[in-house]
């Protein structure tokens, strides 16, 4: 059964129930709660089993990145930026590096373009694998989580071989990438892709054809098409609602214009539709990685010579570089005042809208049991909200 189409109201018109009436139960989901993504908390007001009101509370992971970046040299910021979104640091690295290159007028060599695309697609696959585990786990299906997180680990092994880091890679640096491809790497990439694809087939069989999963996920957290613009929803959440927007196609950065793929568009943006779409994007990522393996130039420089990073002054200017991460539009807005430190770096994380405004809107009328599943199905990630 589908939920009837809700109409978006700005949160100003939010009807807050009077808690003294004794009809409602106020409880906190999180931060110490297995059913919450990352480290944030929801203040739920429940009437019986149904949530009637919700406030998201973020900031448990606030480290003040944007303040710290203003205190550091452009190069010194690289260890920082990748820690803004832990499951997929490469998007931070790419956006920051691309912004600096654009401001400084650096052109990266051909091979670096392909290696960056490879790294982005691999981390997309890894992050989705982690997500599908969370989605299944939120509905109590631990087996899928066990399988998929292990598959993610195999992808992380590739990263470890390519960049030396499991979680934080710091591979994409201004002027190109940090290192070349090790010998025999492509063979192992393809082998891992085969393993992951085989496991994805199993996961689809067990999870998506499962009556119980369908009963839980269908109609949960239905996002109407007209919310997409109203709430600034991007990524799979918007594509599942029928808005065929994929920055990889639209703004065509890196090697994506030269790769053959079509953004997937769904019809129903409920938990099940979004999960289906993300599964499709996983297969798509595997396909893209195979294309990249075929077409990456074997030799050639992988990094542009940069001026001494100590005195690397970037001419004054501002730019906003956005990339399509697994959750939507991920962007870095960098303002330079001509000195060797950035004047302002602002991070646009897709969870910013998904986890706060959209979540608070969607969770009303949802059964308490489904809050965790709804939260995961939006694929939110707190650190990019609070930075």
């Amino acid at each position: 059964m589908r939920r009837e189409k809700q109409h978006a109201v700005p949160p100003a018109e939010r009807a807050t129930p009077d808690l003294d009436s004794g009809k409602y139960l106020v409880m906190w989901q999180g931060p110490q709660h297995p059913g919450i993504t990352g480290n944030m908390s929801l203040r739920l007001v429940a009437e019986g089993d149904t949530v009637v009101d919700c406030e998201t509370h973020v900031g448990y992971l606030h480290r003040g990145f944007e303040k710290l970046m203003e205190r550091r040299l452009y190069m010194q910021n690289f260890p920082l930026v990748c820690r803004i979104a832990v499951p997929e640091p490469d998007f931070n690295e790419y956006c920051y590096a691309a912004a600096l290159e654009e401001l400084a007028g650096v052109v990266i060599p051909e091979k670096a373009v392909w290696l960056r695309t490879l790294s982005l697609e691999m981390i997309r696959l890894a992050s989705f694998l982690m997500w599908i585990g969370g989605q299944a786990g939120a509905f109590g299906h631990g087996t899928i989580a066990q399988w998929s997180v292990t598959m993610r680990d195999y992808v992380l092994d590739l990263f470890e071989e390519l960049t030396g880091g499991r979680i934080y890679h710091m591979y994409i640096i201004p002027g190109g990438v940090r290192g070349d491809v090790p010998a025999g790497f492509w063979k192992r990439v393809l082998a891992t892709m085969d393993v992951v694809e085989k496991n994805l087939d199993d996961i689809e069989l067990v999870m998506f054809h499962n009556a119980v999963f369908k009963a839980r996920a269908e109609g949960l957290g239905y996002i109407p098409r007209d919310w997409v613009d109203q709430y600034g929803i991007t990524g799979p959440n918007a594509r599942a609602a029928g808005a065929g927007r994929d920055l990889r196609k639209d703004s065509g950065y890196l090697a994506y214009p030269r790769l053959s793929f079509e953004p997937l568009v769904g019809t129903e943006s409920d938990a099940y539709g979004r999960a289906r779409l993300r599964l499709g994007e996983m297969y798509q990522a595997i396909d893209l990685i195979r294309q990249i393996v075929d077409r990456t130039p074997a030799n050639g420089p992988f990094r542009e010579k940069l001026p001494n990073p100590l005195h690397w002054k970037i001419p004054a200017g501002e730019t906003y570089v956005a990339a399509e991460c697994t959750r939507g539009e991920y962007g870095f807005y960098v303002v330079s005042d001509g000195s060797d430190k950035p004047r302002r770096v602002a991070v646009r994380g897709p969870s910013y809208t998904h986890a706060v405004s959209v979540m608070e809107r969607l969770v009303r009328g949802v059964n308490i049991a489904d809050v965790a599943g709804l939260m995961v199905s939006l694929h939110t990630y707190p650190p990019e909200i609070e930075r």
């Binding site: 100003a12 939010r14 900031g59 606030h62 709430y231 600034g232 100590l310 910013y352 405004s357 959209v358």
Partner: protein
Amino acid sequence: MNELATRLAGRYGARDWHDQRKDLAAATVDVARIRDVMAWLRDEEGYRHLSFMTAIDNIERGVFTLAYALRNHGTGHGLIIHADVGRDDPKVDSIHLLWGQAWTYQREMKEWYGIDFPGSPRVDEEFVLEGWEGPPMMRRDFDSLAYSDATYAERPGRVTHDPAAHMRDRLFPEAAR
């Protein structure tokens, strides 16, 4: 995109239009008209997607420069609208009725810069901080290191090299000479 520049300049007196990329431009408008500009861009010009809002502390000029990043999904063109507001007692029109997520950014700016958005829902609540005493921390005149040293206990024995000096002496000695 230049006809948009002329229209924007004609209707709202937008200044210093600047094409950063072929798909990204920036312009500055008067802060009093920011809501009109936003509504017009959203409804008439197809810039229906609000990417983000933020502020830049131009302490030298004594202003906060607001930045509203919009995106036209039809043409794939991005537009950043700037507006300057004075650093002392800044007040800006809220646009939370135009976009459903704008109130969150405004709440963030209120907490991080002290820019007030009257009428924006829950704008006075704490956003990421809790029990924060002291100035809005994203202002340039707030020193993070001094606050950290004064507040949090340091583990003895940590040698803090000046990173620039460390890079000069250890990592890039050839750059030093």
